[in-house]
């Protein structure tokens, strides 16, 4: 079964004049009705200009192949925060955080190389045991025959305790990490988590204080295999300004938080929507290996990444001018029928399940990709050992964002 297509949206998507089509409206993602809009773009305007949106004018790239081309064009399509960074929403210039995801070479390359060793194969093997132990503890604590929010009890718990491990951050304060991450990506709005940018800055200041303390401890101690110690001792990072340090922290916290969280939630939802796949998995738990990348494709935890053209750029017969904003819609490329067979179906035993865009490609390709997969793999191994079924018993609620493609509430029940 696939997500039901909302007929109204199928009609609106089909009849809105192309030049007025705005795929960036966060409500499309909150209401899970984005599919027909991108299907039309892929068909009729794979490189599409939207002149007016709540984020200003922008280009949409919606097919797999064009997105790959943009990913490789990092010399012309900049990630630099000076031009607005990596998400569709421009941040106030004064408040922009320097972090390597939002830098171009050569600084990007230097800083990335410092962080990379934490996810080297040898290090991941060391983490496997800790991840499994935390996953078991979380799963053992879940109630039976009772409705609860899977997002809160499992997805958030597991990802924040993992992050706390990566930073060697006090476990008892781990929920602060998810709070900071949520604040970093929230759209400011009245009554929202963040009402304005000053509030966001205040949260960042609190976060910086907590991390500076850890930095000071570790810079004066021998190097250890945690992220803060690595930043404090790394040649390219040890002289970072506090703002740069904060930028990199936000990057690692956000990078490793919502994305993994939403993949954990998505998996439970997709298996419930596709009972035949759930049966296949129960019959053969070895399919976890190919299911994990399929979950990450199907969820696409970051709906897009944004670039800014620094010179004119030709793509798909269109010319994008220097200074213009380019949005690579991974969520659409991952549903591109010319690149992926039956892309709207969730199939846990695909032959080449890692051929998806969710981690990006090119020089900014996700540093944490194998770590994220490892977390999901271990979690599902432990779930299948314990629970024959996790039932979704209510409608999922989703994040109001065109960037973080997330699930905020997933009511489930474990029979037992």
């Amino acid at each position: 079964m696939n997500a039901p297509v909302d007929l109204d949206h199928a009609r609106i998507a089909a009849t809105t004049p192309l030049d007025r089509l705005d795929p960036s409206n966060p409500a499309l993602f909150r209401d899970d009705v984005w599919q027909p809009y991108f299907a039309r773009l892929r068909r009729e305007a794979p490189v599409h200009y939207c002149a007016e949106s709540m984020f200003g004018p922008f280009w949409s790239i919606s097919t797999y192949k064009d997105i790959m081309q943009c990913e490789l064009a990092h010399k012309v399509l900049s990630s630099d925060s000076l031009h607005g960074g990596i998400s569709i929403r421009d941040r106030d210039k004064a408040l922009r955080l320097p972090m390597f995801i939002a830098m171009d070479p050569p600084q990007h390359d230097e800083q990335r190389k410092v962080v990379q060793p934490i996810v080297a194969p040898g290090n991941l093997a060391k983490l496997e045991h800790v991840i499994r132990e935390r996953a078991i503890r979380i799963l053992e604590g879940l109630p039976r025959n009772e409705t609860f929010n899977w997002v809160d009890r499992v997805s958030i718990e597991l990802t924040v305790s993992m992050l706390a491990t990566l930073f060697d951050f006090p476990q008892e304060d781990r929920r602060k990490l998810s709070h900071w991450s949520d604040c970093a990506t929230a759209l400011p709005m009245p009554g929202g988590l963040i009402e304005n940018e000053e509030q966001r800055e205040a949260v960042f200041a609190e976060m910086l204080g907590a991390f500076m303390k850890l930095w000071n401890e570790r810079v004066n101690a021998d190097p250890r295999p945690d992220l803060i110690s690595m930043l404090a001792h790394g040649e390219a990072t040890r002289n970072m300004t506090p703002r740069e340090f904060m930028g990199n922290l936000v990057l690692l916290i956000v990078g490793g938080n919502d994305t993994t969280r939403n993949s954990i939630s998505g998996g439970v939802l997709f298996l419930n929507e596709n009972p035949a796949e759930y049966n296949k998995l129960r019959a053969n738990p070895a399919l976890i290996e190919t299911m994990v990348p399929e979950i990450i494709r199907y969820q696409t935890p970051l709906a897009h990444m944004r670039r800014t053209a620094v010179a004119d750029f030709e793509i798909g017969g269109k010319t994008i001018r220097a200074g213009e904003k380019v949005v690579m819609w991974y969520i659409s490329g991952n549903r591109d029928e010319t690149a992926i067979e039956q892309p709207d179906r969730f199939i846990i035993d695909r032959a080449r399940p890692r051929g998806h865009l969710s981690f990006g490609f090119g020089i900014h390709r996700c540093v944490g990709n194998r770590l994220a997969e490892l977390q999901l793999k271990i979690l599902w191994e432990e779930i299948l050992r314990r629970f024959p079924r996790i039932e979704v018993v209510g409608r999922p609620e989703r994040t109001y964002s065109a960037f973080v493609h997330g699930i905020t509430n997933l009511p489930v029940r474990i029979p037992g």
Binding site: D109, V119, P121, R354, F359, F361, R365, V367
Partner: protein, 106 residues
């Protein structure tokens, strides 16, 4: 047809015949040889078809281009004889090529 030998990290060897013009990555994928993931499908846009080229074959394989060098520089397991196997094209001159796989691809 020219032959390539792939050696997995645990020492398991796979010797295959690979048509000239195909990439060394493609040879591994077509023959389901474990240890080469090739997530991007040969676009030089990730580093998951990373191999160590046997010293004796380094010169014949040429040197990495700029994009390949960037992608390799981020692979924590990279060494001076590292290449992305999607960027090595099979030819009669490479008959007998030996490549080794890293502990894991990422």
């Amino acid at each position: 047809m020219p032959q390539v030998t792939y050696i997995e990290h645990d020492g398991t060897e796979h010797r295959i015949a690979l048509e000239a013009g195909k990439s060394v990555m493609q040879g591994a994928v077509d023959n389901a040889i474990p240890g080469i993931d090739a997530d991007c499908g040969g676009e030089c846009a990730c580093a998951t078809c990373h191999v160590y080229v046997d010293e004796a074959w380094l010169a014949q394989c040429g040197t990495p281009g700029e994009q390949e060098a960037s992608m390799l520089s981020f692979a924590a397991t990279a060494a001076p004889n590292s290449r992305l196997s999607c960027q090595i094209t099979m030819s009669p001159a490479l008959d007998g090529l030996i490549v080794r796989m890293p502990e894991a691809q990422h």
